[in-house]
């Protein structure tokens, strides 16, 4: 009997990841077949049917793994091959060659996009593969990997330990040669590099420059140096380092600089919705934006707009001004009547150069105009600019300004939807309320600046240690709320306890004095409490109990009837 140890979903996720990882190789094969076919004319029947099957399999398997964008393009290529096989005389050579070329380009872009997205989840896959080897509670899906290269172990040990508490994976090297090998073997998310090594006064920064030259890729790095000399600072700038710290540096400050570096690189691609009744035009604009690294979804029928908005949640909508069912202006007005989409940037594409008409569309709430025929880099620039602003605004509205965590309102909304999802998927859900112990004392004794640092440190730690699918909110002054999806009560309790212990190890520095801080937490579970408000109240009561029992502990709420 075949006993199954892994849940199906995890297995499928693994298969999906390996399917994606071999896509580039598959594409290479297809590319060489395509070029042979093109060189050979259309007579090569074996090649044609091979290609037909290759596209068919991309289409089918892509669909099975939920890679819809890929399978849609592959399906078009498959149909084209079919047409060539069935009725080769009806198609002009030039026509099908161009068409195939466009499709191949679109496929390549899509494959790259998947590979990129998958890379970001690489650690998640590694965790999934060997869950039994991790001693800590497995709940992180992207722990940032940091390499520290410094020849003075005593100083670095303390730093490494503190950064580890914030949720980074730290590897330490005392020689630049070992560091280089490690970088080539596994690229870190960021590097902390010393400048001065025994072999040379700028060996550290020189090493970063060498790696950049050798790999052609810039390694995100900050410098930590004992020297404050001009020479040393200049070498850091030349090596492309983004920050320079002199020893001894505070772990908190380094963590802030590291986060800035890491987040820069992890910008999600912009999502653009194109509404155009002409599929070819939509496809053309879509290709331009995809080439600039954006994710594009097209609809050719304006009546599908709300479905598309709901499923795709774009950062920006690009709308053709003249469409049969309803005009672009009408569509914009329609969308603006829904409160959730009041802020969504809408850009019109039109042949309209008449200023009055443009103005009347502006009144319907349109952000900008691009006149056809579009100039590709102009389209990319104006879309990017507005999408970026939308992201920033959205962040400001939903997030707490000090910590970047979700604010009270957003956290509550997300709890409601997470609970609904858990009920639907028949999964469990944990709500955790966290409150810093004797926080008022910290503010009174060490000042508000120190208090803010404690709050930021806890926020930073939670962000690193929890999964992307978990919700982390700042609920009040020193109160935090977590919504953990698909987790058992035991795992949730173990995790929060581990967080509590690690947090209490962080050393804070008020300028004159060093101090520690700890927190208490209450947890409630679905099933057990079946409404969002019950969950929150039960977690609150458990938190209250934890405080009463002497603080610095975690209490799990038990429903009365148990």
């Amino acid at each position: 009997m075949n006993i199954n140890q892994q849940p199906l979903q995890k297995k499928i996720a693994q298969l999906r990841a390996s399917f994606i990882s071999q896509l580039p190789a598959r594409m290479d094969t297809i590319k060489s077949q395509v070029s042979m076919l093109v060189d050979d004319g259309c007579n090569n029947l074996t090649m044609l049917s091979d290609l037909h099957r290759a596209f068919h399999s991309l289409n089918g398997t892509g669909k099975s793994f939920g890679l819809f964008e890929l399978s849609v393009i592959a399906a078009q290529a498959e149909a084209l091959m079919m047409q060539l096989l069935d009725t080769p005389d009806e198609l002009q050579r030039e026509q099908w060659v161009t068409k195939l070329d466009v499709l191949m380009q679109a496929l390549s872009i899509q494959v790259q996009a998947y590979a990129h997205a998958e890379n970001e989840h690489q650690f998640a896959v590694e965790e999934v593969l060997e869950p039994e080897h991790t001693s800590v509670v497995v709940l992180k899906d992207s722990v940032p990997l940091i390499y520290i290269c410094d020849d003075e172990p005593e100083q670095v040990d303390y730093l490494a330990h503190q950064l580890h508490c914030f949720g980074y994976e730290i590897q330490h090297f005392t020689e630049t040669a070992a560091f280089r090998q490690a970088v080539l073997a596994r690229r870190p998310d960021a590097v902390i590099m010393d400048v001065f090594f025994p072999q040379s006064r700028t060996a550290g920064t020189d090493e970063l420059s060498h790696i950049k030259d050798a790999t052609g890729q810039h390694l995100p790095a900050i410098v930590l140096s004992g020297s404050n000399s001009f020479e040393s600072r200049l070498s850091a700038v030349r090596a492309g380092c983004s920050a320079y710290f002199t020893k001894p540096a505070r772990p908190m400050d380094l963590a802030a600089a590291l986060d800035e570096l890491i987040e820069d690189g992890h910008q999600e691609p912009y999502q653009i919705l194109i509404v155009d009744d002409e599929p070819e035009v939509a496809e053309y604009h879509s290709l331009i934006l995809q080439n600039a690294g954006m994710v594009v979804h097209q609809i050719h029928n304006p009546t599908l707009i709300f479905e598309a908005l709901k499923n795709f949640s774009p950062d920006l909508m690009l709308v053709d001004m003249y469409m049969p069912v309803c005009s672009g202006s009408e569509l914009a007005a329609l969308v603006r009547q829904v409160p959730a989409y009041v802020g969504l940037p809408i850009v019109f594409l039109s042949n309209e150069t008449d200023v009055d008409k443009q103005f009347s569309a502006m009144q319907a709430g349109v952000e900008g105009f691009i006149t056809k025929p579009v100039i590709p880099h102009q389209l990319v620039a104006s879309v990017k600019l507005r999408a970026e602003r939308m992201r920033t605004l959205r962040g400001l509205m939903a997030k707490d300004s000090l910590t970047g965590l979700y604010n009270h309102t957003t956290t509550t909304e997300m709890l409601v939807s997470a609970l609904a999802n858990a009920v639907r998927q028949q999964e469990s859900l944990a709500v955790v309320m966290i409150d810093l112990d004797k926080f008022k004392n910290i503010n009174d004794t060490y000042g508000h600046m120190a208090g803010d640092k404690v709050i930021v440190a806890l926020a930073r730690m939670l962000k690193h240690r929890l999964r992307n699918s978990d919700v982390i909110g700042r609920y009040g002054g020193e109160e935090f709320a977590l919504v953990l999806r698909n987790i058992t009560a035991d795992a949730a309790e173990a995790l929060v306890n581990e967080l509590r212990e690690d947090f209490s190890k962080i050393v804070f520095d008020s300028g004159q004095e060093q101090f520690h801080c700890n927190f208490s937490a209450g947890i409630s579970m679905y099933p057990g409490h079946d409404h969002a408000e019950d969950l929150r109240m039960a977690a609150d009561e458990a938190l209250y109990q934890a405080k009463n029992q002497g603080r610095n502990q975690v209490v799990m709420s038990r429903p009365d009837y148990e």
Partner: protein, 123 residues
């Protein structure tokens, strides 16, 4: 119960296998119809065949017809990337035809259940 899965695409085959193993079926895999025949000869316990349609040399439907010609009575479920109706119209003898898409993990076990409970009892 033992099931033979035939698919020339390694990932598709693995995916189908994962879905079936999750249902506690024991799965044997083959990459093409000829290999499938060999596995069937070696494993007399196999009670059902799940095959992809579009494969080089011998398609899923041709594989089915070949088996029938050899007198096989094993239920045969075809997987296809297109609408199942097309394949069923081409070969109405198929026990079931399931589309390979995102819903396959639910549809295939359901189809197997229907096919197996429709079989005359062999007791």
């Amino acid at each position: 119960m033992q099931i033979l899965v035939v698919d020339d695409d390694l990932f598709a085959g693995e995916m189908t296998t994962a879905v079936l193993e999750d249902q506690c079926y024991q799965v044997f895999q083959a990459e093409n119809a000829i290999e499938g025949m060999e596995v069937l000869n070696q494993q007399p316990g196999i009670a059902l065949i799940v095959s992809d349609l579009n494969m080089p040399l011998i398609s899923g439907i041709e594989f089915y017809r070949e088996l029938k010609e050899q007198g096989s009575t094993l239920p045969f479920i075809l997987l296809t990337g297109d609408e199942p109706e097309k394949a069923l119209a081409k070969e109405p003898g198929l026990d079931a035809c399931v589309m390979k898409d995102f819903n396959m993990p639910e549809r295939l076990p359901a189809a197997i259940h229907v096919v197996m409970s429709a079989l005359p009892s062999r007791e």
